[in-house]
Symmetry: D2
Subunit: 339 residues, 4 copies
């Protein structure tokens, strides 16, 4: 395709996240439209397709990928279904935006890595959308200027008002801290080499048996230390903050001071209540950037390597949570494709 053509996207998975991406591609992203939706629930797929002009509903991802009017694939199905869809897309050399996690574990991520390596060029972008959040982008840009010197430490806060019923103690690492895994690697430009997880007394507001909050400490191959407070039943809202401490100064994002009110004895502002509110812009920009790059024949976002490394760190983190102590992260050698 040439960059003047509209990108025709097959969206795989029409749950909450997939349906939101359909809305985003149709109403917000310039130069792209949804030509196919896929869901094992045929009725749900049809219902979504019916609201979009020129959109066909499928139940099988591979069939959708062979349709004439599909140029690219957005994977928003459940994590365990990602690997098959990714391999099928790579088999057809189709550009992919795959929601995080790339796959649920490092071994399966490695198989996707191997498939793309064999293909010989990058086709897959992983949905670490924080790299498109305007605040994180400014922070990264400031670090890149070198004004602050080299980063030594990174403090992260990741708070949710409440966790969904199915959430487990391990998911605080593999689902939530997964974002800070990528943020740490991306902001610092370093790989994570060891993980330690501390277990504060659980909050009285956490569901019975859930280890919430947790305090995670990363060490990196560049000698930096990053910490993550993950607290998914903090009660007061959704809040994501990061402070990078460098040799000559620090920079902090996430305080969210857009509007300040004085009322009833207090000054301050509101806290976002969920990630779709806090990161709405990031998702919009992620999809626009992906569509733009794809139309130019490029992949510019987080790679399969990034998805694999995050999976490997999260696996080590879950072991550290379970066994206690410090767990080292083992990565395969980085292929030249991701240099």
């Amino acid at each position: 395709m040439t960059s003047s053509d509209t990108l025709r996207v097959a969206v795989i998975g029409t749950g909450k996240m997939g349906a939101d991406h359909v809305r985003r591609i149709q109403g917000i992203v310039s130069g792209a439209r949804v030509s196919a939706v896929v869901d094992v629930d045929a009725e749900r797929a049809k219902a979504v397709a019916a609201r979009v002009d020129g959109c066909t509903a499928y139940t099988d991802p591979v069939t959708a990928m062979t349709a004439d009017d599909v140029d690219a694939v957005l994977i928003a199905s459940s994590g365990p279904a990602h690997e098959a869809a990714l391999l099928a897309a790579l088999d057809r050399d189709l550009p992919v935006l795959c929601e995080k996690p790339l796959t649920p574990d490092a071994a399966s991520a490695l198989r996707v890595l191997e498939a793309e390596r064999k293909l010989g060029h990058r086709r897959v972008q992983v949905g670490f959308m924080r790299r498109y959040d305007p605040e994180y982008v400014r922070l990264k840009a400031l670090l890149n200027t070198g004004q602050l010197g080299r980063p030594l430490m990174l403090h992260n806060r990741h708070r949710n008002a409440a966790s969904p019923p199915f959430f487990t103690s391990e998911m605080l690492i593999s689902d939530s801290v997964a974002h800070e895994t990528d943020v740490t690697r991306w902001l610092l430009g370093q790989e994570i080499t060891a993980v330690t997880v501390l277990r504060p007394r659980p909050s009285v507001n956490a569901p019975d048996g859930l280890q919430d909050p947790q305090f995670v400490v990363f060490e990196t191959d560049g000698g930096a230390v990053a910490d993550v407070e993950i607290f998914v039943n903090c009660g007061f809202g959704y809040q994501v903050q990061a402070e990078v401490v460098c040799e000559r100064g620090t920079a902090r994002i996430g305080d969210g001071h857009a509007m300040v009110t004085n009322m009833a004895g207090r000054w301050g502002g509101t806290i976002a209540q969920d990630f779709t509110d806090r990161f709405a812009d990031a998702y919009d920009r992620e999809l626009q950037a992906w569509a733009d790059a794809t139309r130019r024949g490029e992949v510019t976002g987080p790679s399969v390597w990034d998805g694999y490394a995050a999976a490997a760190v999260c696996e080590a983190g879950v072991r550290a949570l379970t066994d206690g102590g410090r767990v080292e992260v083992e990565l395969v050698e980085r292929p030249g494709l991701y240099a």
Copy 2:
């Protein structure tokens, strides 16, 4: 047209603002494309058109408006050229987004008002883009909830790092405070009835003879008082702030606390250096909202009445600046079309 069709826009004026809108419609706005560009400078029009697929260059606005592939018009030419273009578009019943000011004075704005009134339905949206800025939108939404009670006062700050060479003392009112004129009317939902302008000693950094800063006080028909500090050679950046004081509390926007650094003995953040930086999002959202509404056959943004009222207030403001004292604003009766 139906809402599934892509909106084909003729952009009139390809100076800095017009060219920026072309880029925005092509690269950011979903569901719209530029099919025509118009400029009295034929070479400039051709150069812009050459970078856009399926875009024709014109030197005459009316010719462009009669083209088959033009569904709507965006006017970004110089202020004095607006009236003719607006009347031509209304003559052809074409939807219009017209950059501010609607026209340079209240009398010409009234002629446009009359033309649209005769047409019998609204077609024109005026480019008061602050109504699409996320911070102003949140402020307006908060006021609409009634939590703070009724607004009593509004404090505005409007600061530019430096004014362009052609800027006159009158333009601080007619060009800069014009924004606060609309912001005041929109946030309070009231008309401005009188203007007073105070003239502090000019800054040593203002060009010789320029009355900069100025301090403007508005009174409204709802009994509110609004003040505007306009300072177009403040030196340190572009800064727009507003605080609404209501019966039970206040709300302030524009502090811009996105990223906070500690460095060299100071904490804080950077200040935007011009309006394209501060209001980039507002322009994106304005054009997306206009394209969406236009495809649905609606006009939802600031009206010709808003453009006329702003012009009338600015005329009174310029008189107050020149003559001193308090100048009353006279408006014609508001036509039912704008009720």
Copy 3:
């Protein structure tokens, strides 16, 4: 006395403010003690004196001033009683700290000015305690460095949760804005030459008939413009803010960001509920500075001239409130004693 002696103070007036000053001198100020208290209510004076070692109760200020163990006088009686006490103290050449206002009007202030001028040296300090507030002190110090260039505008906010029952529309000027009168003169180092008062629609929470809020505009002999929002029934707390706009930058105090909480969907902090909370430090420092200077035989704080000028500006302000329009301030020539 020599600076090693403890300063023995007669406190005139043992109402809320006077009793608070007694507590302050006894428990907080170094190098001073209360040796006499005076109140027309003999029982109240005795009750206060009984709590302080070596303190005598009086009903007549002049008798107290002649006691052997009185080195200095603190006047905290009602405003109309100030003149007689001030003249008696000047007659005995005693150092005085006089709570604001110096006297209730410009004419009586002039009589005190004349008495001190005849005495030939300064003895009286007026209780404009904001000059001792750490934030105002930092603001003044920054202005003095010249880093920001010359001041052009000053924006003040002065908000009280609720006004006492006896408060009148005129008292918003003469009692509340009196502070900003002094702040403006002191920060800018300029005299106020004209006052305009705008009258927004009163808040539904203001007592019937009270013009609250008001918006006051000062012009100065240095060409600066200062505005004051005075709102004594804002409901949410006690809040005092000031922003000075200079040729190369601005500085703002009063945001009060000491502790930030996240709770129940909001971030932010508490707002002080009254002036004794917000300005507790300022009163402590004011009295310590007065005691220190007095023991050295000096007067370093706001002078009788400052008290007189504030009274003259407030009188003009009350006229502007009543009559509308812009009212000029007339001051007598400044005596050399206050150069």
Copy 4:
């Protein structure tokens, strides 16, 4: 003594800290004066004494403690000299304010603990002055209300512009983190049971061989986790921050937003450059509170137990720094005197 008498204090040690306390007692604290100063350097002691009325210079602490005009002792000599002075004061049953550290190690602190226990009542207060800082006081008061629920985590930042030449890697723990040791114990009301120290790559601005920064993690007997970033060559200033994360919300102090400027493309404020600036108020209030309580015959501040526990935690911290891994803290049983 009765509370109406002035407290006569012997200040032991007239180095920078001791001389500052002399100035504070003489000029700021109400109800106290310096009657004796002690220094092994006789000339230095004499020079300080000469500036204070009625003050005698000594070279031997014990001799000073036996003087008729000494009611209480302030120990500001070097750490290794504390034990002897403390034991001598306890021997004479004199009230003591002892600068931190109580003594350089846990064993010597235990000996002081034992001496006070035998005496049978508390006489010693340790100089953990942060407990008197207005921001920490507000934070503690908020925690005490229970509004935020129980504390789960505490994040501390402790940054110095540059370290003195004699500073060692161990002193980052024993001298700097010593403060957070007390802050953690005091704010949470829990004992620290284990310490882990992470060692980021040292900053290029740290002196050769100094492990700076460090990242310290405390675990407590109440199940909380506290972390401390200690960075003594951060370059940009002196900055102390704390955020307590509780079951229903968080509270943060130390952002220091007193005055905000806009200048040269940046908004923000200045950062204190050393602890005497940041904690000037805390020292003033600490000494006033100590003088007030002592005159009432009470000890209300941090106890010998607090000094001992801090020493024990710091010893464990130094071991954790040296040996790596997690080191448990062993405390003796808490005597009833400190219940």
